[in-house]
Symmetry: C2
Subunit: 439 residues, 2 copies
């Protein structure tokens, strides 16, 4: 507890290495990631305030290396502990800059890779605490922010040639008249989603077919298929998927970065006979110019990317180069909510559709908030926005996502839906949780 009358401060950044042995079922298998163990570097921010609240957040990895992200969170912790709670929660823009601006830690990024993943975990935990303090789900905290505060959460460094603080403030003001209508529609119908659960690369044809039928029966209108290993397999599996979902639904393809630029063009053109809505991650996430070439060559198939796009500077360029039609922000790879906001506004300015990446551990829980906020308060148009949905590991969350008729229902609990059940945290802690002990 803070001394009576004292300023409540952050007293600890607890971090644990959580891993789920998903590789056993080949859930989540794709051409680049054959056997992921979905993992979280899980952070709890503790304070000495007497409200008993903790901010929880995480970044997502797929197993080995999660311990490196844990080490990076520990490196960031001294930048958090001792700060005033109100000072952080009422100036989340300043907090972001403090974490990303440490001149020595910056060297091991900057704003990319492990240190940025760790930044995401800590920043998201701070936003979770802010939302809990406000007693609102995160999406509503964002919707309720004054234009000045919202615009102040974004770091414009390196993107001022694309958007400015004044522009964001104006944009926020401009969307106000339409908000009530959009919010009502989204609260009633939910946020439209698509499913990736049918099309993992490790599933055989029979399982793929059966899962497609289930998906159609459950009301899904958009179904995604993993491609990029064997050419003949891709064509056969895409045919199965199109056959099962029919022409009136949407098929998306995801190559998970396995192709070079020319190969991506060649393979996508070949698969275009199945009329995919998009080709996702056709090549290296770093290759802005490559994506731009692919986009020009495979049109009318759209190019989608983002789950491995490491910061706002890269998204800025993908947008400037007209390299993507679908912007797939990742809530745990970008440096938390602040940086996601910058990308939402840049995409809105360019009229590019934001379809958040999800799946893994807890990414669905996160992105439902971001997609709701985007749809209500930022996006110029919401007709073709779909949020990824994968049906893994939700049972470990205190407030799991709720899907109804192929849509995310708006979360209602205060916070960023990041809390994992204490018993799951205990059981899947690596390497000493029960789930990881030799049986």
């Amino acid at each position: 507890m803070a001394a009576p009358g004292g300023t409540p401060r952050f007293v600890a950044v607890d971090v644990i290495d959580l891993r789920f042995p998903t590789s056993l079922q080949l859930d989540g298998s794709d051409a680049m990631n054959p056997d992921p163990d979905y993992s979280a570097t899980y952070v709890a921010l503790r304070t000495d305030a007497d409200d008993g609240l903790e901010g929880h957040g995480f970044t997502f990895t797929i197993g080995r290396g999660n311990e490196v992200c844990v080490a990076a969170v520990r490196a960031l912790a001294p930048l958090v502990v001792g700060r005033s709670v109100a000072g952080v929660l009422d100036d989340l823009g300043g907090f972001w800059k403090a974490l990303t601006g440490d001149s020595q830690l910056r060297w091991i990024g900057p704003e990319k890779g492990v240190i940025h993943l760790a930044t995401a975990a800590v920043v998201n935990a701070a936003w979770d605490l802010r939302a809990k303090r406000d007693g609102k789900p995160l999406w509503r905290v964002l919707c309720d922010m004054a234009p000045e505060e919202l615009a102040g959460c974004i770091d414009y460094r390196y993107i001022s040639d694309e958007i400015t603080e004044e522009w964001v403030r104006e944009r926020v003001r401009a969307t106000r008249p339409r908000r009530a209508e959009r919010e009502a529609a989204l609260l009633a119908g939910g946020v439209p989603a698509y499913t990736t659960s049918a099309g993992w690369l490790g599933y055989d044809d029979d399982k793929l077919r059966a899962l497609c039928r289930e998906a159609v029966a459950a009301g899904w209108t958009h179904v995604k298929l993993k491609v990029g290993r064997d050419r003949a397999d891709d064509l056969r599996r895409a045919a199965i998927l199109r056959e099962e979902i029919g022409d009136e639904r949407f098929l998306m393809l995801d190559a998970n970065q396995v192709w070079d630029v020319d190969e991506a063009i060649d393979r996508t053109l070949e698969l275009s006979r199945f009329a995919p809505l998009w080709i996702e991650e056709p090549t290296s996430p770093d290759d802005v110019l490559g994506h731009a070439r692919i986009a020009r060559a495979v049109d009318p198939v759209g190019v989608a990317t983002g789950e491995h796009v490491h910061n706002r500077v890269m998204f800025k360029q993908l947008l400037q180069a007209d390299a993507i039609r679908y912007c797939q922000i990742d809530s745990a790879r970008l440096g938390g909510v602040n940086e996601v906001l910058s990308v939402l506004f840049m995409a809105a300015k360019r009229g590019v559709t934001v379809c958040p990446h999800a799946g893994g551990v807890g990414l669905c829980e996160y992105v439902q908030h971001l997609a709701l906020f985007d749809a209500i308060a930022v996006a110029p148009d919401v007709t073709d926005r779909v949020v990824e949905y994968v049906d893994h590991l939700h049972e470990h969350f205190v407030h799991p996502v709720r899907i109804r008729a192929a849509a995310y229902l708006a979360p209602e609990a205060p916070g960023y839906s990041a809390d994992i059940l204490p018993e799951s945290r205990e059981r899947y802690r690596f390497p000493d949780g029960v789930a990881w002990l030799p049986s």
Copy 2:
């Protein structure tokens, strides 16, 4: 020792966190990095071969966060230990792919940030061992490689739209006739260098002026100044430098990423009255399109960047977009020698000058090998190539660089010149070396 008649194998990846308290003198201070503590994540590869050789290598950081790189080396170690020594040293291309291709570790990059810095340390150590085994300095190992082996060291994934293995083989063959002549010239005169030691931002005007005079007296023809904090300071300091070095020598400017794109153009144009050869790191290292805009706007001042350019895919785009005139490869940020090779060949193809980044701890020791190899066997033209030189911390190396008349003398000892003296490793180990204990 390997069992008699058995295959020698790697038995350990030793790693230590070395830090030098350079922040005390403001050596190395610039607009982004006010108080670096030059550090190394230092790796020793041990084998059970009976030759007693160890491969040493490191990556460079500036203090906090070095322990995160150490954790990343530990994450890579299982990919090394147990491998056949000959299997690795005779297929360094395959070794690189094994380290960067681990599907789970890839997620926390890919090929960027902490995991890639750690990859550099391990890969460079393997090249050091190769050179020690061959009994040659690394530059000569590279020069002596058959075109097939050299071309096979490069990972063409994501750069095949720019160079291919066949093209590299041909290029290597094509440079053979001229090599003897170039080598003789470089062995006689050394590799031309420039100095950054005069112009650190933390030095006052008197110290700057005195160091410029010393530099001129010592024969330096290229002197670099740190800029990017206060506008008036930059103009005054650039005037001092130009006054001291005269019109016949070259002045370079380095902004260390502090500007946004429009600001970089504005500030560089203002400083262009001092006729700088280049403006280095004018903005975010991730901003290919931004660098391209700056390059067009500030011509004839050249744009230089690279010390924070994280992999070959980014360099590919900087070259494709005509965004840099000087390509500043970093030997410890790119994933070791293999990835440096890919950038040398791409730069050669585009006719862009390679001026390696150096300084820090041991970067000078590394890059002298790379610059020699480039000049002898790759670069189409060597007239304007200068390698950075900074006079810090060489005393800790077993085979420190030797500078004579503003040039690096060709290293002669077998290896990659990476070995740090055992007593220095002991003294500067963080946090328990004597240098870090409270006095």
